[in-house]
Amino acid sequence: MAAAPPTTSEKWSSDSHQYLAVEYDDTFLVYFRPSGETHFLNFLSYGMVHAVSSGPLSEEEILARMRTDFSLTAEELPETLVATTLSELDQAGLITALDAGT
């Protein structure tokens, strides 16, 4: 089940052992072991999944990381796009929301 909408205190994480990813140009096919589903992700969505696999990050931290990693301006990558994408990735089970204290 998808978690409740993220709050600023939440951090996101993923477990890189739970998925397999194959890159095709700027897109990724991701096989998620727990669900057996295959997902088609663009570079930004996969970038988020990958970023939180090395340690939990808040939405703000993810936003900053994505803008740096992909050289995107605030106009090119608004906060709302990151929030929407995180919500979709959460619904797919590819990332998990953690409490700030965890």
Binding site: L20, D25, T27, L29, T38
Partner: protein
Amino acid sequence: MSAPSNVASYDRRDLRAALRNGSFTLHLGPFSHLVSGASEPLLDFLSDTYRDYSVELTPSDVTDVLLRLEAPNILRRFIRRQITPNPGFKVPAVPLPLSMSPLAFEMGLNLSVALKCCRFINVHAGVVADKDGAIVMSAASGGGKSTLTAALLQHGYRLFSDEFALLGLDQPLLHPYPRPISLKQETIPVVRDMVGDNWISKVVTGTPKGDIAYYRARASDLAQDKTSAKAKLVLFPKFEKGVRPIARQLNPAEAIMRLVPASTNYSLLGEPAFHAITGLLKNIRAYEITYGSTIDSLRLVEQITDQKLV
């Protein structure tokens, strides 16, 4: 145990007896199929359309497919006779008049392979191959897959299947399963004109799918039914009357996301299926082709394979 021999080499009485007592074993590609059914239209169909296929008329304990063609109830064995495929598990098959036995037989084999086979990833697709590799053609019903498959057979390709791309799990190789090509409605005269009357079965009229006929596989295709091939191209054909021919190259990931829902067992097989299907698309191209005639579709395929379209 007798050695397999072509259907045509057997006496009709022996074929009938084997079908009645459940000792008709059809060998094709990676599968053996034990078939039973007391139906003269089925016997006619097998004697004609399957004349070059390899069979044994001895019972076998181990087969991949067990298909019984039987009446839905005792009444329909005798009065207004009907037939239904029983592949050994419950399927929502509508009983058909006995005259439609060929359709019941083909449907039963399709259901068996689609829903029971786990040695390969099954993708609903036509596959043909030449010396350079195989072309996989995945299309929705009416997309022109069967007509394009039949047309490519006239241009140096051999038949793998009109129905299933069987993709190996250990290696990304396609395995032939050259059953007759199923032709529906208006494709029947088109393919008949292309290949000649002798290659087309008797038309089964008034079926739930409309008129159906079958294009018999060639002996040369059957002789190579154990010779697998690597894919060289994946196509998503789309027939639209009167449209200008166009080809659009797809990102391999998009192509895979189209093949996955066309597979009956991808979800069941899980991770090995993911490895195999990503392996299939490794270093090959995928296109969506839209066309309004067989000539246009052949021209597009030729342009793509000759790398004139990049």
